[in-house]
Every structure is written in C-alpha cells, then in structure tokens.
C-alpha cells in the first residue's frame, strides 16, 4: 500500500515539475529579450526610417545578465498602428537579429520574445505589451520595444544648372 502511494506521489511530482517548467518562460520576466541599438546598448525607443530602407533589429537573449544557455529561439512581430494589425510575424528565429523593410509610410511597433527551441509555443512575455486586439498603448508600455516612424524619402542632391 505504501509502495503504491509512493508511485502516486512520484507521478504527481513529475507532473508538477513538467507543468512548472512549461510556465517558466511565461513567468520569468528576466528572460524577455532586450532590443539593442546599433551600438549594442539596450534600447527601447523610437526609430525614424524611410520607406524601403533596410532596418535591422537585434537583441540579447535576456533583459539582464543571466548567462545565455543557447536553447531558445525568437519570435518577432511588427504591428502597423494605422491598420491595427500585425504585418510581420516571424516565428522561431534561430538568430539574434532580424532584417526587414517597411514599404509604406506609417507608424509601427516591433517587439520580440524568447521561446524554448524544443517547444516553440512555450515563450516568454513579449518585450513590450501592445497587442493587435487591444491596440497600442502610447505610454508606459514601450519598455523594450521599438516605435518605428516610417516616412517617405525626400529627394536629394538638388541643384541648379
């Protein structure tokens, strides 16, 4: 009888352990990726770009100095503010950067999150908190995301002859 209870207990512990592991990323805010600027510093903020310009987003695996273990992949989303929808939704990127262009004038937000490489549905929180469903909140949420303002490139090299 005691033996039976031991097995039940062991099974319960194993289940709890698995369940806990699956929730780690969602609950562990320190594992949220941190976007970087071109100098490699942590940065959430505003980028001013023009249509068709190559834009590179890069990030570190974590927002703090927890050692990188290398078993994560990353999701990147870009939302169009005017259209209130996700226009770029890249999943399970096995890299720490993402290159893209935005062909239309407008306001966009970019965010990133980490997921387990062996279970890409088990992910950290997004690096900032907007959602297409709830629209973008203007203040207090851009902790670690990018606003991207995309304008039309002006003519250049003007002159007279």
């Amino acid at each position: 009888m005691i033996k039976k209870w031991k097995y039940v207990l062991l099974a319960l512990v194993a289940f709890a352990q698995t369940y806990t592991n699956e929730l780690v990323l969602a609950q562990e805010s320190s594992i949220v990726p941190n976007l970087l600027n071109s100098q490699g510093w942590f940065e959430g903020g505003t980028k001013y770009k023009v249509t068709g310009e190559n834009i590179k987003a890069s990030w570190t695996p974590h927002a703090d100095n927890i050692p990188w273990e290398g078993n994560y992949v990353f999701d990147v989303q870009i939302l169009s503010y005017e259209r209130d929808e996700v226009i770029i939704d890249e999943r399970a990127l096995n890299q720490l950067e993402y290159n893209f262009t935005l062909p239309r004038v407008g306001h966009y937000v970019l965010r990133v999150r980490a997921c387990y490489a062996n279970n890409t549905t088990d992910c950290s929180e997004w690096s900032n908190s907007w959602s297409a469903e709830n629209s973008i909140e203007f203040s207090g949420t851009m902790v670690n995301g990018w606003w991207i303002f995309v304008w039309l490139d002006a003519p250049s090299d003007i002159g007279i002859r």
């Binding site: 249509t51 004038v105 490139d153 002006a154 003519p155 250049s156 007279i160």
Partner: protein, 106 residues
C-alpha cells in the same frame, strides 16, 4: 511676348518605390519654404526648367528677379508627402531685357 532663358532645377529621386510625383516649391529668399509655399506638380521627373515654368505663368517665377529659395518633395500614391529638400538663395532672373528700339533701315 518676351521669353526667358533656361534654368534647370534638378534632384536625385526619392528611394521610395511608390513615388507618384514631385512638387517644386518656390519662395522669395526672405520666406522659408514650407508646405504652404506656392508649388507646382512636376510629375515623376528629376528636373524642371524654371524658365519654362515662368513662361507657362507659374506666379512666383513670372518676372522673377533676385534670390529665391527652391524646394522639392516627393508624393506617393497614397498622398503622403516627404520632407522638402531645400536649395536656398538661388539667383534667378526671368526678366527679359527691354527690346531694342529705334529700328530702321538705311
């Protein structure tokens, strides 16, 4: 009617793929160029002959003589307009000389 000479205003096109036209702005030197300035829609080109615009009656250039601020912007198919690239203090002279007088034959 007198005709004025050629003065070509040119630029390098915007990198945007959906540019539909360029606007050319003209202001006297004392006034900065902005989106309220007089302009002409030049089409999808990379130069315009200001003298020809004067001949066609573009008001800021008719009988223009002095220094002017010139600007050019790009418009895309959705109607978005870029910043205005400005060339300040461009000397223009679209006043034709008084025609000769005292004509005769001998």
């Amino acid at each position: 009617m007198a005709r004025v000479g050629t003065k070509v205003f040119f630029w390098t096109e915007s990198s945007a793929a959906d540019v539909e036209e360029y606007r050319v702005y003209v202001e006297p030197e004392a006034n900065p160029v902005n989106y309220s300035s007089p302009y002409i829609s030049a089409g999808k080109v990379t130069e315009v002959d200001l003298g020809e615009l004067a001949n066609q009656g573009f008001a800021p250039l008719v009988d223009a003589e002095g220094d002017f601020n010139l600007g050019v912007s790009a418009l895309d198919t959705a109607g978005n307009e870029s910043d205005i690239a400005v060339k300040p203090s461009v000397p223009l002279d679209f006043v034709a000389p008084v025609p000769p007088t005292g004509l005769g034959v001998r």
